[in-house]
């Protein structure tokens, strides 16, 4: 089953090789800065929020849609949860996650109503709600940055909930517990996509919507699940973002949506739907993170990061497209020869 040609044709494998080559290059040029445990922890930490977002974006892309509203959902969930915690005085991290998740779910279902029931194009709907959610947040909830340490104790303290701590050159380096949230959610999404009929429905809808309908899949229900679940993930990611940064800033997060979608596409998901995997997505997230945080170690100025990401997207998406073209050309030649 695992023959070499099939392996090489997989986008996950290509992206893995690119990642290895990039890391090797950085390690050779700057071993003392790159090949260290603190740096590895830093990279992983930077992956967490974008990774959780990417899991949601993956589901949407597979189903043939696109969602750009998740950063607005995340920041709304974080900011509103913080306000509620401050107002009620119940200073609890589990409560923060529960509130964030619920707010995210609710906002995600708003998307689902427009997409599933009114059948509007997903990009238009989520572009609309991106601005709607964020605008409503700034107008009704406020635009003041809240430092968690000034108003909470436990919530702010969660910044220091680490699972591993090692001594480093200056002080110590730690891996934050929220990496476990990312891994747990990744496992959950992988299971849903691979082993549930709901997951297969997502692939089927992305592959051929009409055929999925005729086969008996419930399209609207599936879309409610997708956009609700994406909202839930975004809400959780928002709380993690707050904990890691120790603040709730209504002007943050929004603007990361395209990087997240880029990571998912680099990981092999098709923007046209029907294709994509969790492993590929995580590799895509890792690659984008390494580029944006470590390219500078290669001596490449930060201005070039965008350029490199752009080039990688074109190459990463271009290669499979070319392979597809070649396959089709071979097939037409075959028909012509008959």
């Amino acid at each position: 089953m695992l023959n070499l040609r099939a392996l090489f044709a997989r986008q996950e494998f290509i992206i893995f090789i690119v990642l290895v080559v990039l890391c090797a290059a950085i390690a050779i040029v700057n071993p003392t800065a790159f090949l260290t445990v603190p740096n590895a922890f830093r990279i992983l930490r930077a992956c967490i929020v974008i990774g959780i977002f990417a899991l949601g974006a993956l589901m949407v892309l597979i189903s043939g849609g696109i969602d750009v509203s998740f950063p607005a959902i995340a920041i709304s969930a974080l900011y509103l949860s913080t306000l509620i915690i401050v107002d009620t005085g119940i200073d609890s991290v589990p409560l923060a996650f529960a509130l964030g998740g619920l707010i995210g779910l609710a906002l995600g279902l708003v998307n689902a109503v427009f997409i599933g029931i009114f059948k509007l194009p997903t990009l238009i709907v989520t572009l609309g709600t991106l601005n709607l959610f964020r605008g409503a947040l700034l107008f009704f909830a406020g635009s003041v940055r809240i430092r968690l340490s000034e108003v909470t104790t436990n919530f702010a303290d969660a910044t220091r909930w680490n699972i591993i701590t090692v001594p480093a050159a200056r002080g110590e380096a730690s891996l934050h517990f929220s990496i476990l949230i990312l891994l747990g959610l990744a496992l959950l999404v992988w299971f849903i996509l691979r082993y549930t009929m709901l997951g297969r429905a997502i692939y089927a809808i992305g592959g051929d919507r009409e055929a999925a309908e005729r086969a008996g899949f419930n399209i609207v229900r599936t879309q409610f699940f997708i956009y609700g679940f994406v909202g839930l993930l975004a809400g959780i990611a928002g709380i993690v973002f707050g904990i890691l940064g120790r603040e709730a800033d209504p002007f943050s997060i929004v603007g990361t949506e395209l990087d997240v979608i880029a990571a998912v596409v680099l990981g092999g998901a098709s923007i046209l739907g029907g294709r994509g995997t969790v492993v590929g997505t995580l590799l895509g997230v890792l690659l984008i993170t390494v580029i944006s945080s470590n390219l500078v170690l290669l001596g490449i100025p930060t201005e070039w990061q965008r350029f490199v990401i752009g080039a990688l997207i074109l190459i990463g998406v271009g290669i499979p497209a070319l392979q597809g073209l070649r396959r089709r050309a071979q097939r037409t030649q075959l028909i012509g020869a008959v």
């Binding site: 082993y195 709901l198 009409e210």
Partner: protein, 499 residues
Amino acid sequence: MTQELLRLEKIVKSFAGVQALKGVDLHINSGEITCLVGENGCGKSTLIKVISGVYQPDSGSIFIDGNSVSHLRPIDSIRSGIQVIYQDFSLFPNLSVAENLALNNQLSQGKRFVNWGEVRAIAQEALKRTDVNLPLDALVGDLSVADKQLIAISRAILQDARLVVMDEPTTALTGKEVAALFKVVRNLQAKGIAILFVSHKLNEVLEIAEKVVIMRNGEKVLDTPARELDVRKISYYMTGREIAESYYDYAPKPNETPLLKVEHLTLPGAFDDISFSLRGGEILGITGLLGSGRTELAKALFGESPAKSGTIHVKGQVVSIRSIQDAIRNHIGYVPEDRLTEGLFLQRSIGSNIVTSTLKQLLSRAGIVENKKVNSEIGQWVEDLRIKTRDVSLPVRSLSGGNQQRVVLAKWLSAKPEILILNGPTVGVDVGSKEELHQIIKDLAYKGMGIIIISDDIPELMATCNRILLMRRGRIGEELVTRQTGEGELSAKLRQSAV
């Protein structure tokens, strides 16, 4: 051994006052291969939809296994073992063969989780039942049309089908693939499964069918064992006339330079050493089986996939046609085979479709679109080609097949071509519309245009062309003058070209 599976009695179905089915009887026994033939619009699609439960007949009765069924819904039809394989197959290109085969089965069982071992087992069972060999892990999108069709059939059999209805299953298949499909069909027959095969390719019908049912204008005109029929007889019953429409009369003018002259045109793997000429006022037919190179030749003349060697003369001048722009510059127009994907913007309005290729000529000097000019141009074409619509701002998809085809024609005619290549001009067009389109084509030729029609529809070629080139494996096998050739002769020659 043979048992009655399905019986229809006096089925009547009308749409908006038009009777599509006027009291049709049909009976199908288990293990029997029945072919349903008829021209487009004769009511065969409606009949299939009655059998599959999509349409409810206005009157008449349906019996399954001898029991009267008063209200047949799609789900009842499936439960009693009737499976329809539509032309688009309803497969998922992004999923594996195994999953495509097993998905419907899993879904109808109400499964919530996927057991991949079970999926493979179901898929293997499905392929075993149809005796087909396909890689289970391949993505369906990477397979050929023929393989996709085999998957659709295998999936249908898996649902314990007792009657499989195939709607025009051979349209996109090559000769070899058709043979493979027929093998599968006979295999199913041996297992007692009945097949209802809808087609208008008469040679195939005669090859596979035990019983032929011919429909015309919503009525069954013949229901007889296939061995009592030949192509001539079937076409007579299908069309209701011994000879198709009148021949096209063309009187050559002496010493006239041909509009188009092609010499030794070659594209390796597609066509080889093609030479012919076309004069103004001529309608030249090019026919051959799928894969004979007829479409490739047309595309080469239109610059879509240019020939590798050979020369093309337009009005006596050697021209180089390397791109579609070159062809248009030399006043060559091409109406593609698949108007839905290649020829039209389905969502856009009828009017804007007509003027897309000529909008530039309708601009004012400042480069602004002059609505008055555009509208009069559109109105002119709608009138000339008798396009039936109440409003040209409606989307093209609101039109019937025949009228859509006229919009494609209008689009190309508005570019004022002198040479017009029509590929399958009346595929999917109903009978009445077909004859009108033929008349329009003839009128264009009378006015001096040189027309090439690429088609495997023999009555169509006979009715419109004055000369016909028969292509065989990329070469011109024979040139026939329509007046001196019989319809049966041509179809026999076309059939022979397969071997």
